[in-house]
């Protein structure tokens, strides 16, 4: 323990000394780590983070529902449901193939540009729609993996009690599937949290756009570093929570044995 602490301090001090004594360091420090710029940028950026959080929360709620609908559509058995399965597969293939930023541009600029009656012109709305469409494709695959991981004997038990196919999914399979995929879902949401900055491209002034405005005004990159810090602070707890849930699952599986 003591050795670990000492060696860690020594190594990091040495790295710090080498970096700050490199010939280009003063230039780097002025451009990226300017204390005054940092103090100026951080409060505004944090205030603007509100937009990203709103975007994230609304999109996440929609994605959780839409992704599950897609996964269930794709899990419906039998020839009658073939068209439904085909639709779900086509959708997932399409939106996993498209770069998210492309969808954001097409919807964020394209749809308001049509000037259709009754269609919202707020780029924020289209940003939510674009992220939901894109991420639902990924999330539905996570759900589907969960649904397929539930042993067929569970469906047999449910059906043998007289539950319909849909009731078996609703009460027996999906609840078990969702429990199993919470860690990978959180992983996707870490991605979503970061991708909320993409909507700055269609004119939503959120945390990244705020930093961009300041950067071009003062020709200093410190506001970006402030934004980076914000994302690190917000994302790491979610990442640790995911790790903890995975570890807890593994422990309960080891203890519980065959379920």
């Amino acid at each position: 323990m003591v050795v670990a602490i000492v060696s860690t301090v020594v190594v990091f001090t040495a790295i710090g000394w080498v970096v700050t004594h490199a010939p280009g360091w003063p230039l780097v420090q002025r451009s990226f780590f300017d204390a005054e710029e940092f103090r100026d940028a951080l409060p505004d950026s944090i205030a603007r983070l509100r937009i990203n959080v709103q975007l994230f929360v609304i999109a996440e709620a929609l994605i959780l529902v839409f992704g599950l609908v897609l996964a269930v559509m794709r899990s419906l058995p039998g020839p009658v449901f073939f068209p439904i399965r085909l639709m779900a597969v086509a959708y997932v293939d399409l939106f996993r193939a498209l770069p998210g930023v492309l969808v954001i541009f097409i919807l964020g600029f394209g749809v308001p540009g049509l000037r259709l009656e009754g269609v919202p012109k707020d780029p924020f709305v289209w940003a939510v729609v674009a992220l939901t469409l894109t991420y639902s494709a990924y999330v539905s695959e996570v759900y589907r993996a969960g649904i397929e991981s539930v042993h067929p004997s569970q469906e047999a038990a449910a059906r043998s009690l007289g539950l319909s196919r849909f009731q078996a999914l609703r009460f027996v399979i999906v609840p078990q599937a969702v429990r199993r995929v919470i860690p990978p879902l959180l992983n996707d949401f870490i991605g979503l949290q970061k991708d909320t900055v993409l909507v700055s491209f269609v004119g939503v002034v959120e945390v990244f756009r705020t930093a961009q405005i300041k950067q071009s005004a003062h020709f200093n990159f410190t506001p970006y570093l402030a934004t980076a810090l914000i994302f690190i602070v917000v994302t790491i707890p979610l990442a640790r929570l995911t790790d903890w849930l995975v570890a807890r699952d593994r422990r309960s599986q080891l203890r519980g044995g065959v379920r």
Binding site: A157, S160, G162, G256
Partner: protein, 263 residues
């Protein structure tokens, strides 16, 4: 070898409307033919035990009766209704036929009470309160009342299988299928499960039981069917099947069981 079980009436005669009638049932998985023309009639209140080596088709036959596997040919009639007809209401039929599996197949995300009440609430549309009262009564009857709030993984194997039987009974089935229900249990837990089945037999439950417990089959069955190669090779009262089997294959099978110390 003992005579007929004194606790039960002599084998009832299947009447014009037997509880279950199986005619010429064939079932293949790919190129493997598992059932090659099974014929069987089970009267109301009758207990029929299916015995035979692993792979002889016992489990598949039970799964076909519950429509968990579609059959390739033949027909299955339950209480006068042909359940294998193309327009049969599968969910309605399954409601009346309970099945208990070798591996329990309990719902791990639900409590003991939740496992029992799911189908009565969702399928029979009982109120939650009514379903819970009925479930609690069953739990008390079978000695699991103190477990009602626990999750299945907290129960012993024997308790889990008793719960699976209770879950099937909560639907008040006319016919109960038991698929090697003690095969996954530690030897010391087998008795508590067999005890429940014995009690159900005593109350007149119509049952078809696939089992490797020959002593149990001899005690409880009104009739024993020996399956071999996907068909019933020999059937009759337990005393005759175990005492003086006619078919060489039956004799061979029972000799192996005796040699293994299981009869």
């Amino acid at each position: 070898m003992t005579g007929p079980n004194p606790a039960r009436n002599p084998a009832p005669n299947p009447g014009p409307n037997p509880a279950l009638r199986i005619e010429g049932v064939h079932k293949s998985f790919g190129r493997l033919e598992v059932l090659r023309g099974v014929n069987l009639e089970v009267a109301e209140h009758e207990v029929v035990c299916l015995i035979g080596a692993s792979g002889s088709g016992k489990s598949t036959l039970l799964r076909c009766i519950n429509l968990l596997e579609p059959i390739d040919a033949g027909q299955i009639v339950v209480a006068g209704q042909e359940i294998t007809a193309p327009d049969a209401d599968v969910d309605a039929i399954r409601r009346r036929i309970g099945i208990v599996f070798q591996a329990f197949n309990l719902f791990p995300h639900m409590s003991v009470l939740g496992n029992i009440t799911l189908a009565p609430i969702r399928v029979l549309k009982r109120s939650r309160a009514d379903a819970e009262v009925a479930a609690t009564a069953l739990l008390e009857r079978f000695g699991l009342a103190d477990k009602r709030g626990d999750y299945p993984d907290r129960l012993s194997g024997g308790q889990q299988q008793r719960l699976a039987i209770i879950r099937a009974l909560a639907m008040e089935p006319d016919l109960l299928l038991l698929d090697e229900v003690t095969s996954a249990l530690d030897p010391e837990l087998v008795a508590e499960v067999l005890e429940i089945i014995r009690e159900l037999a005593g109350q007149g439950m119509t049952m078809v039981i696939a089992t490797h417990e020959m002593g149990f089959a001899r005690d409880i069955a009104d009739r024993v069917c020996f399956l071999d190669g996907g068909a019933i090779l020999e059937e009759g009262p337990p005393a005759r099947i175990f005492g003086s089997p006619q078919e060489p294959r039956t004799r061979q099978f029972l000799a192996r069981i005796v040699a293994a110390g299981r009869l």
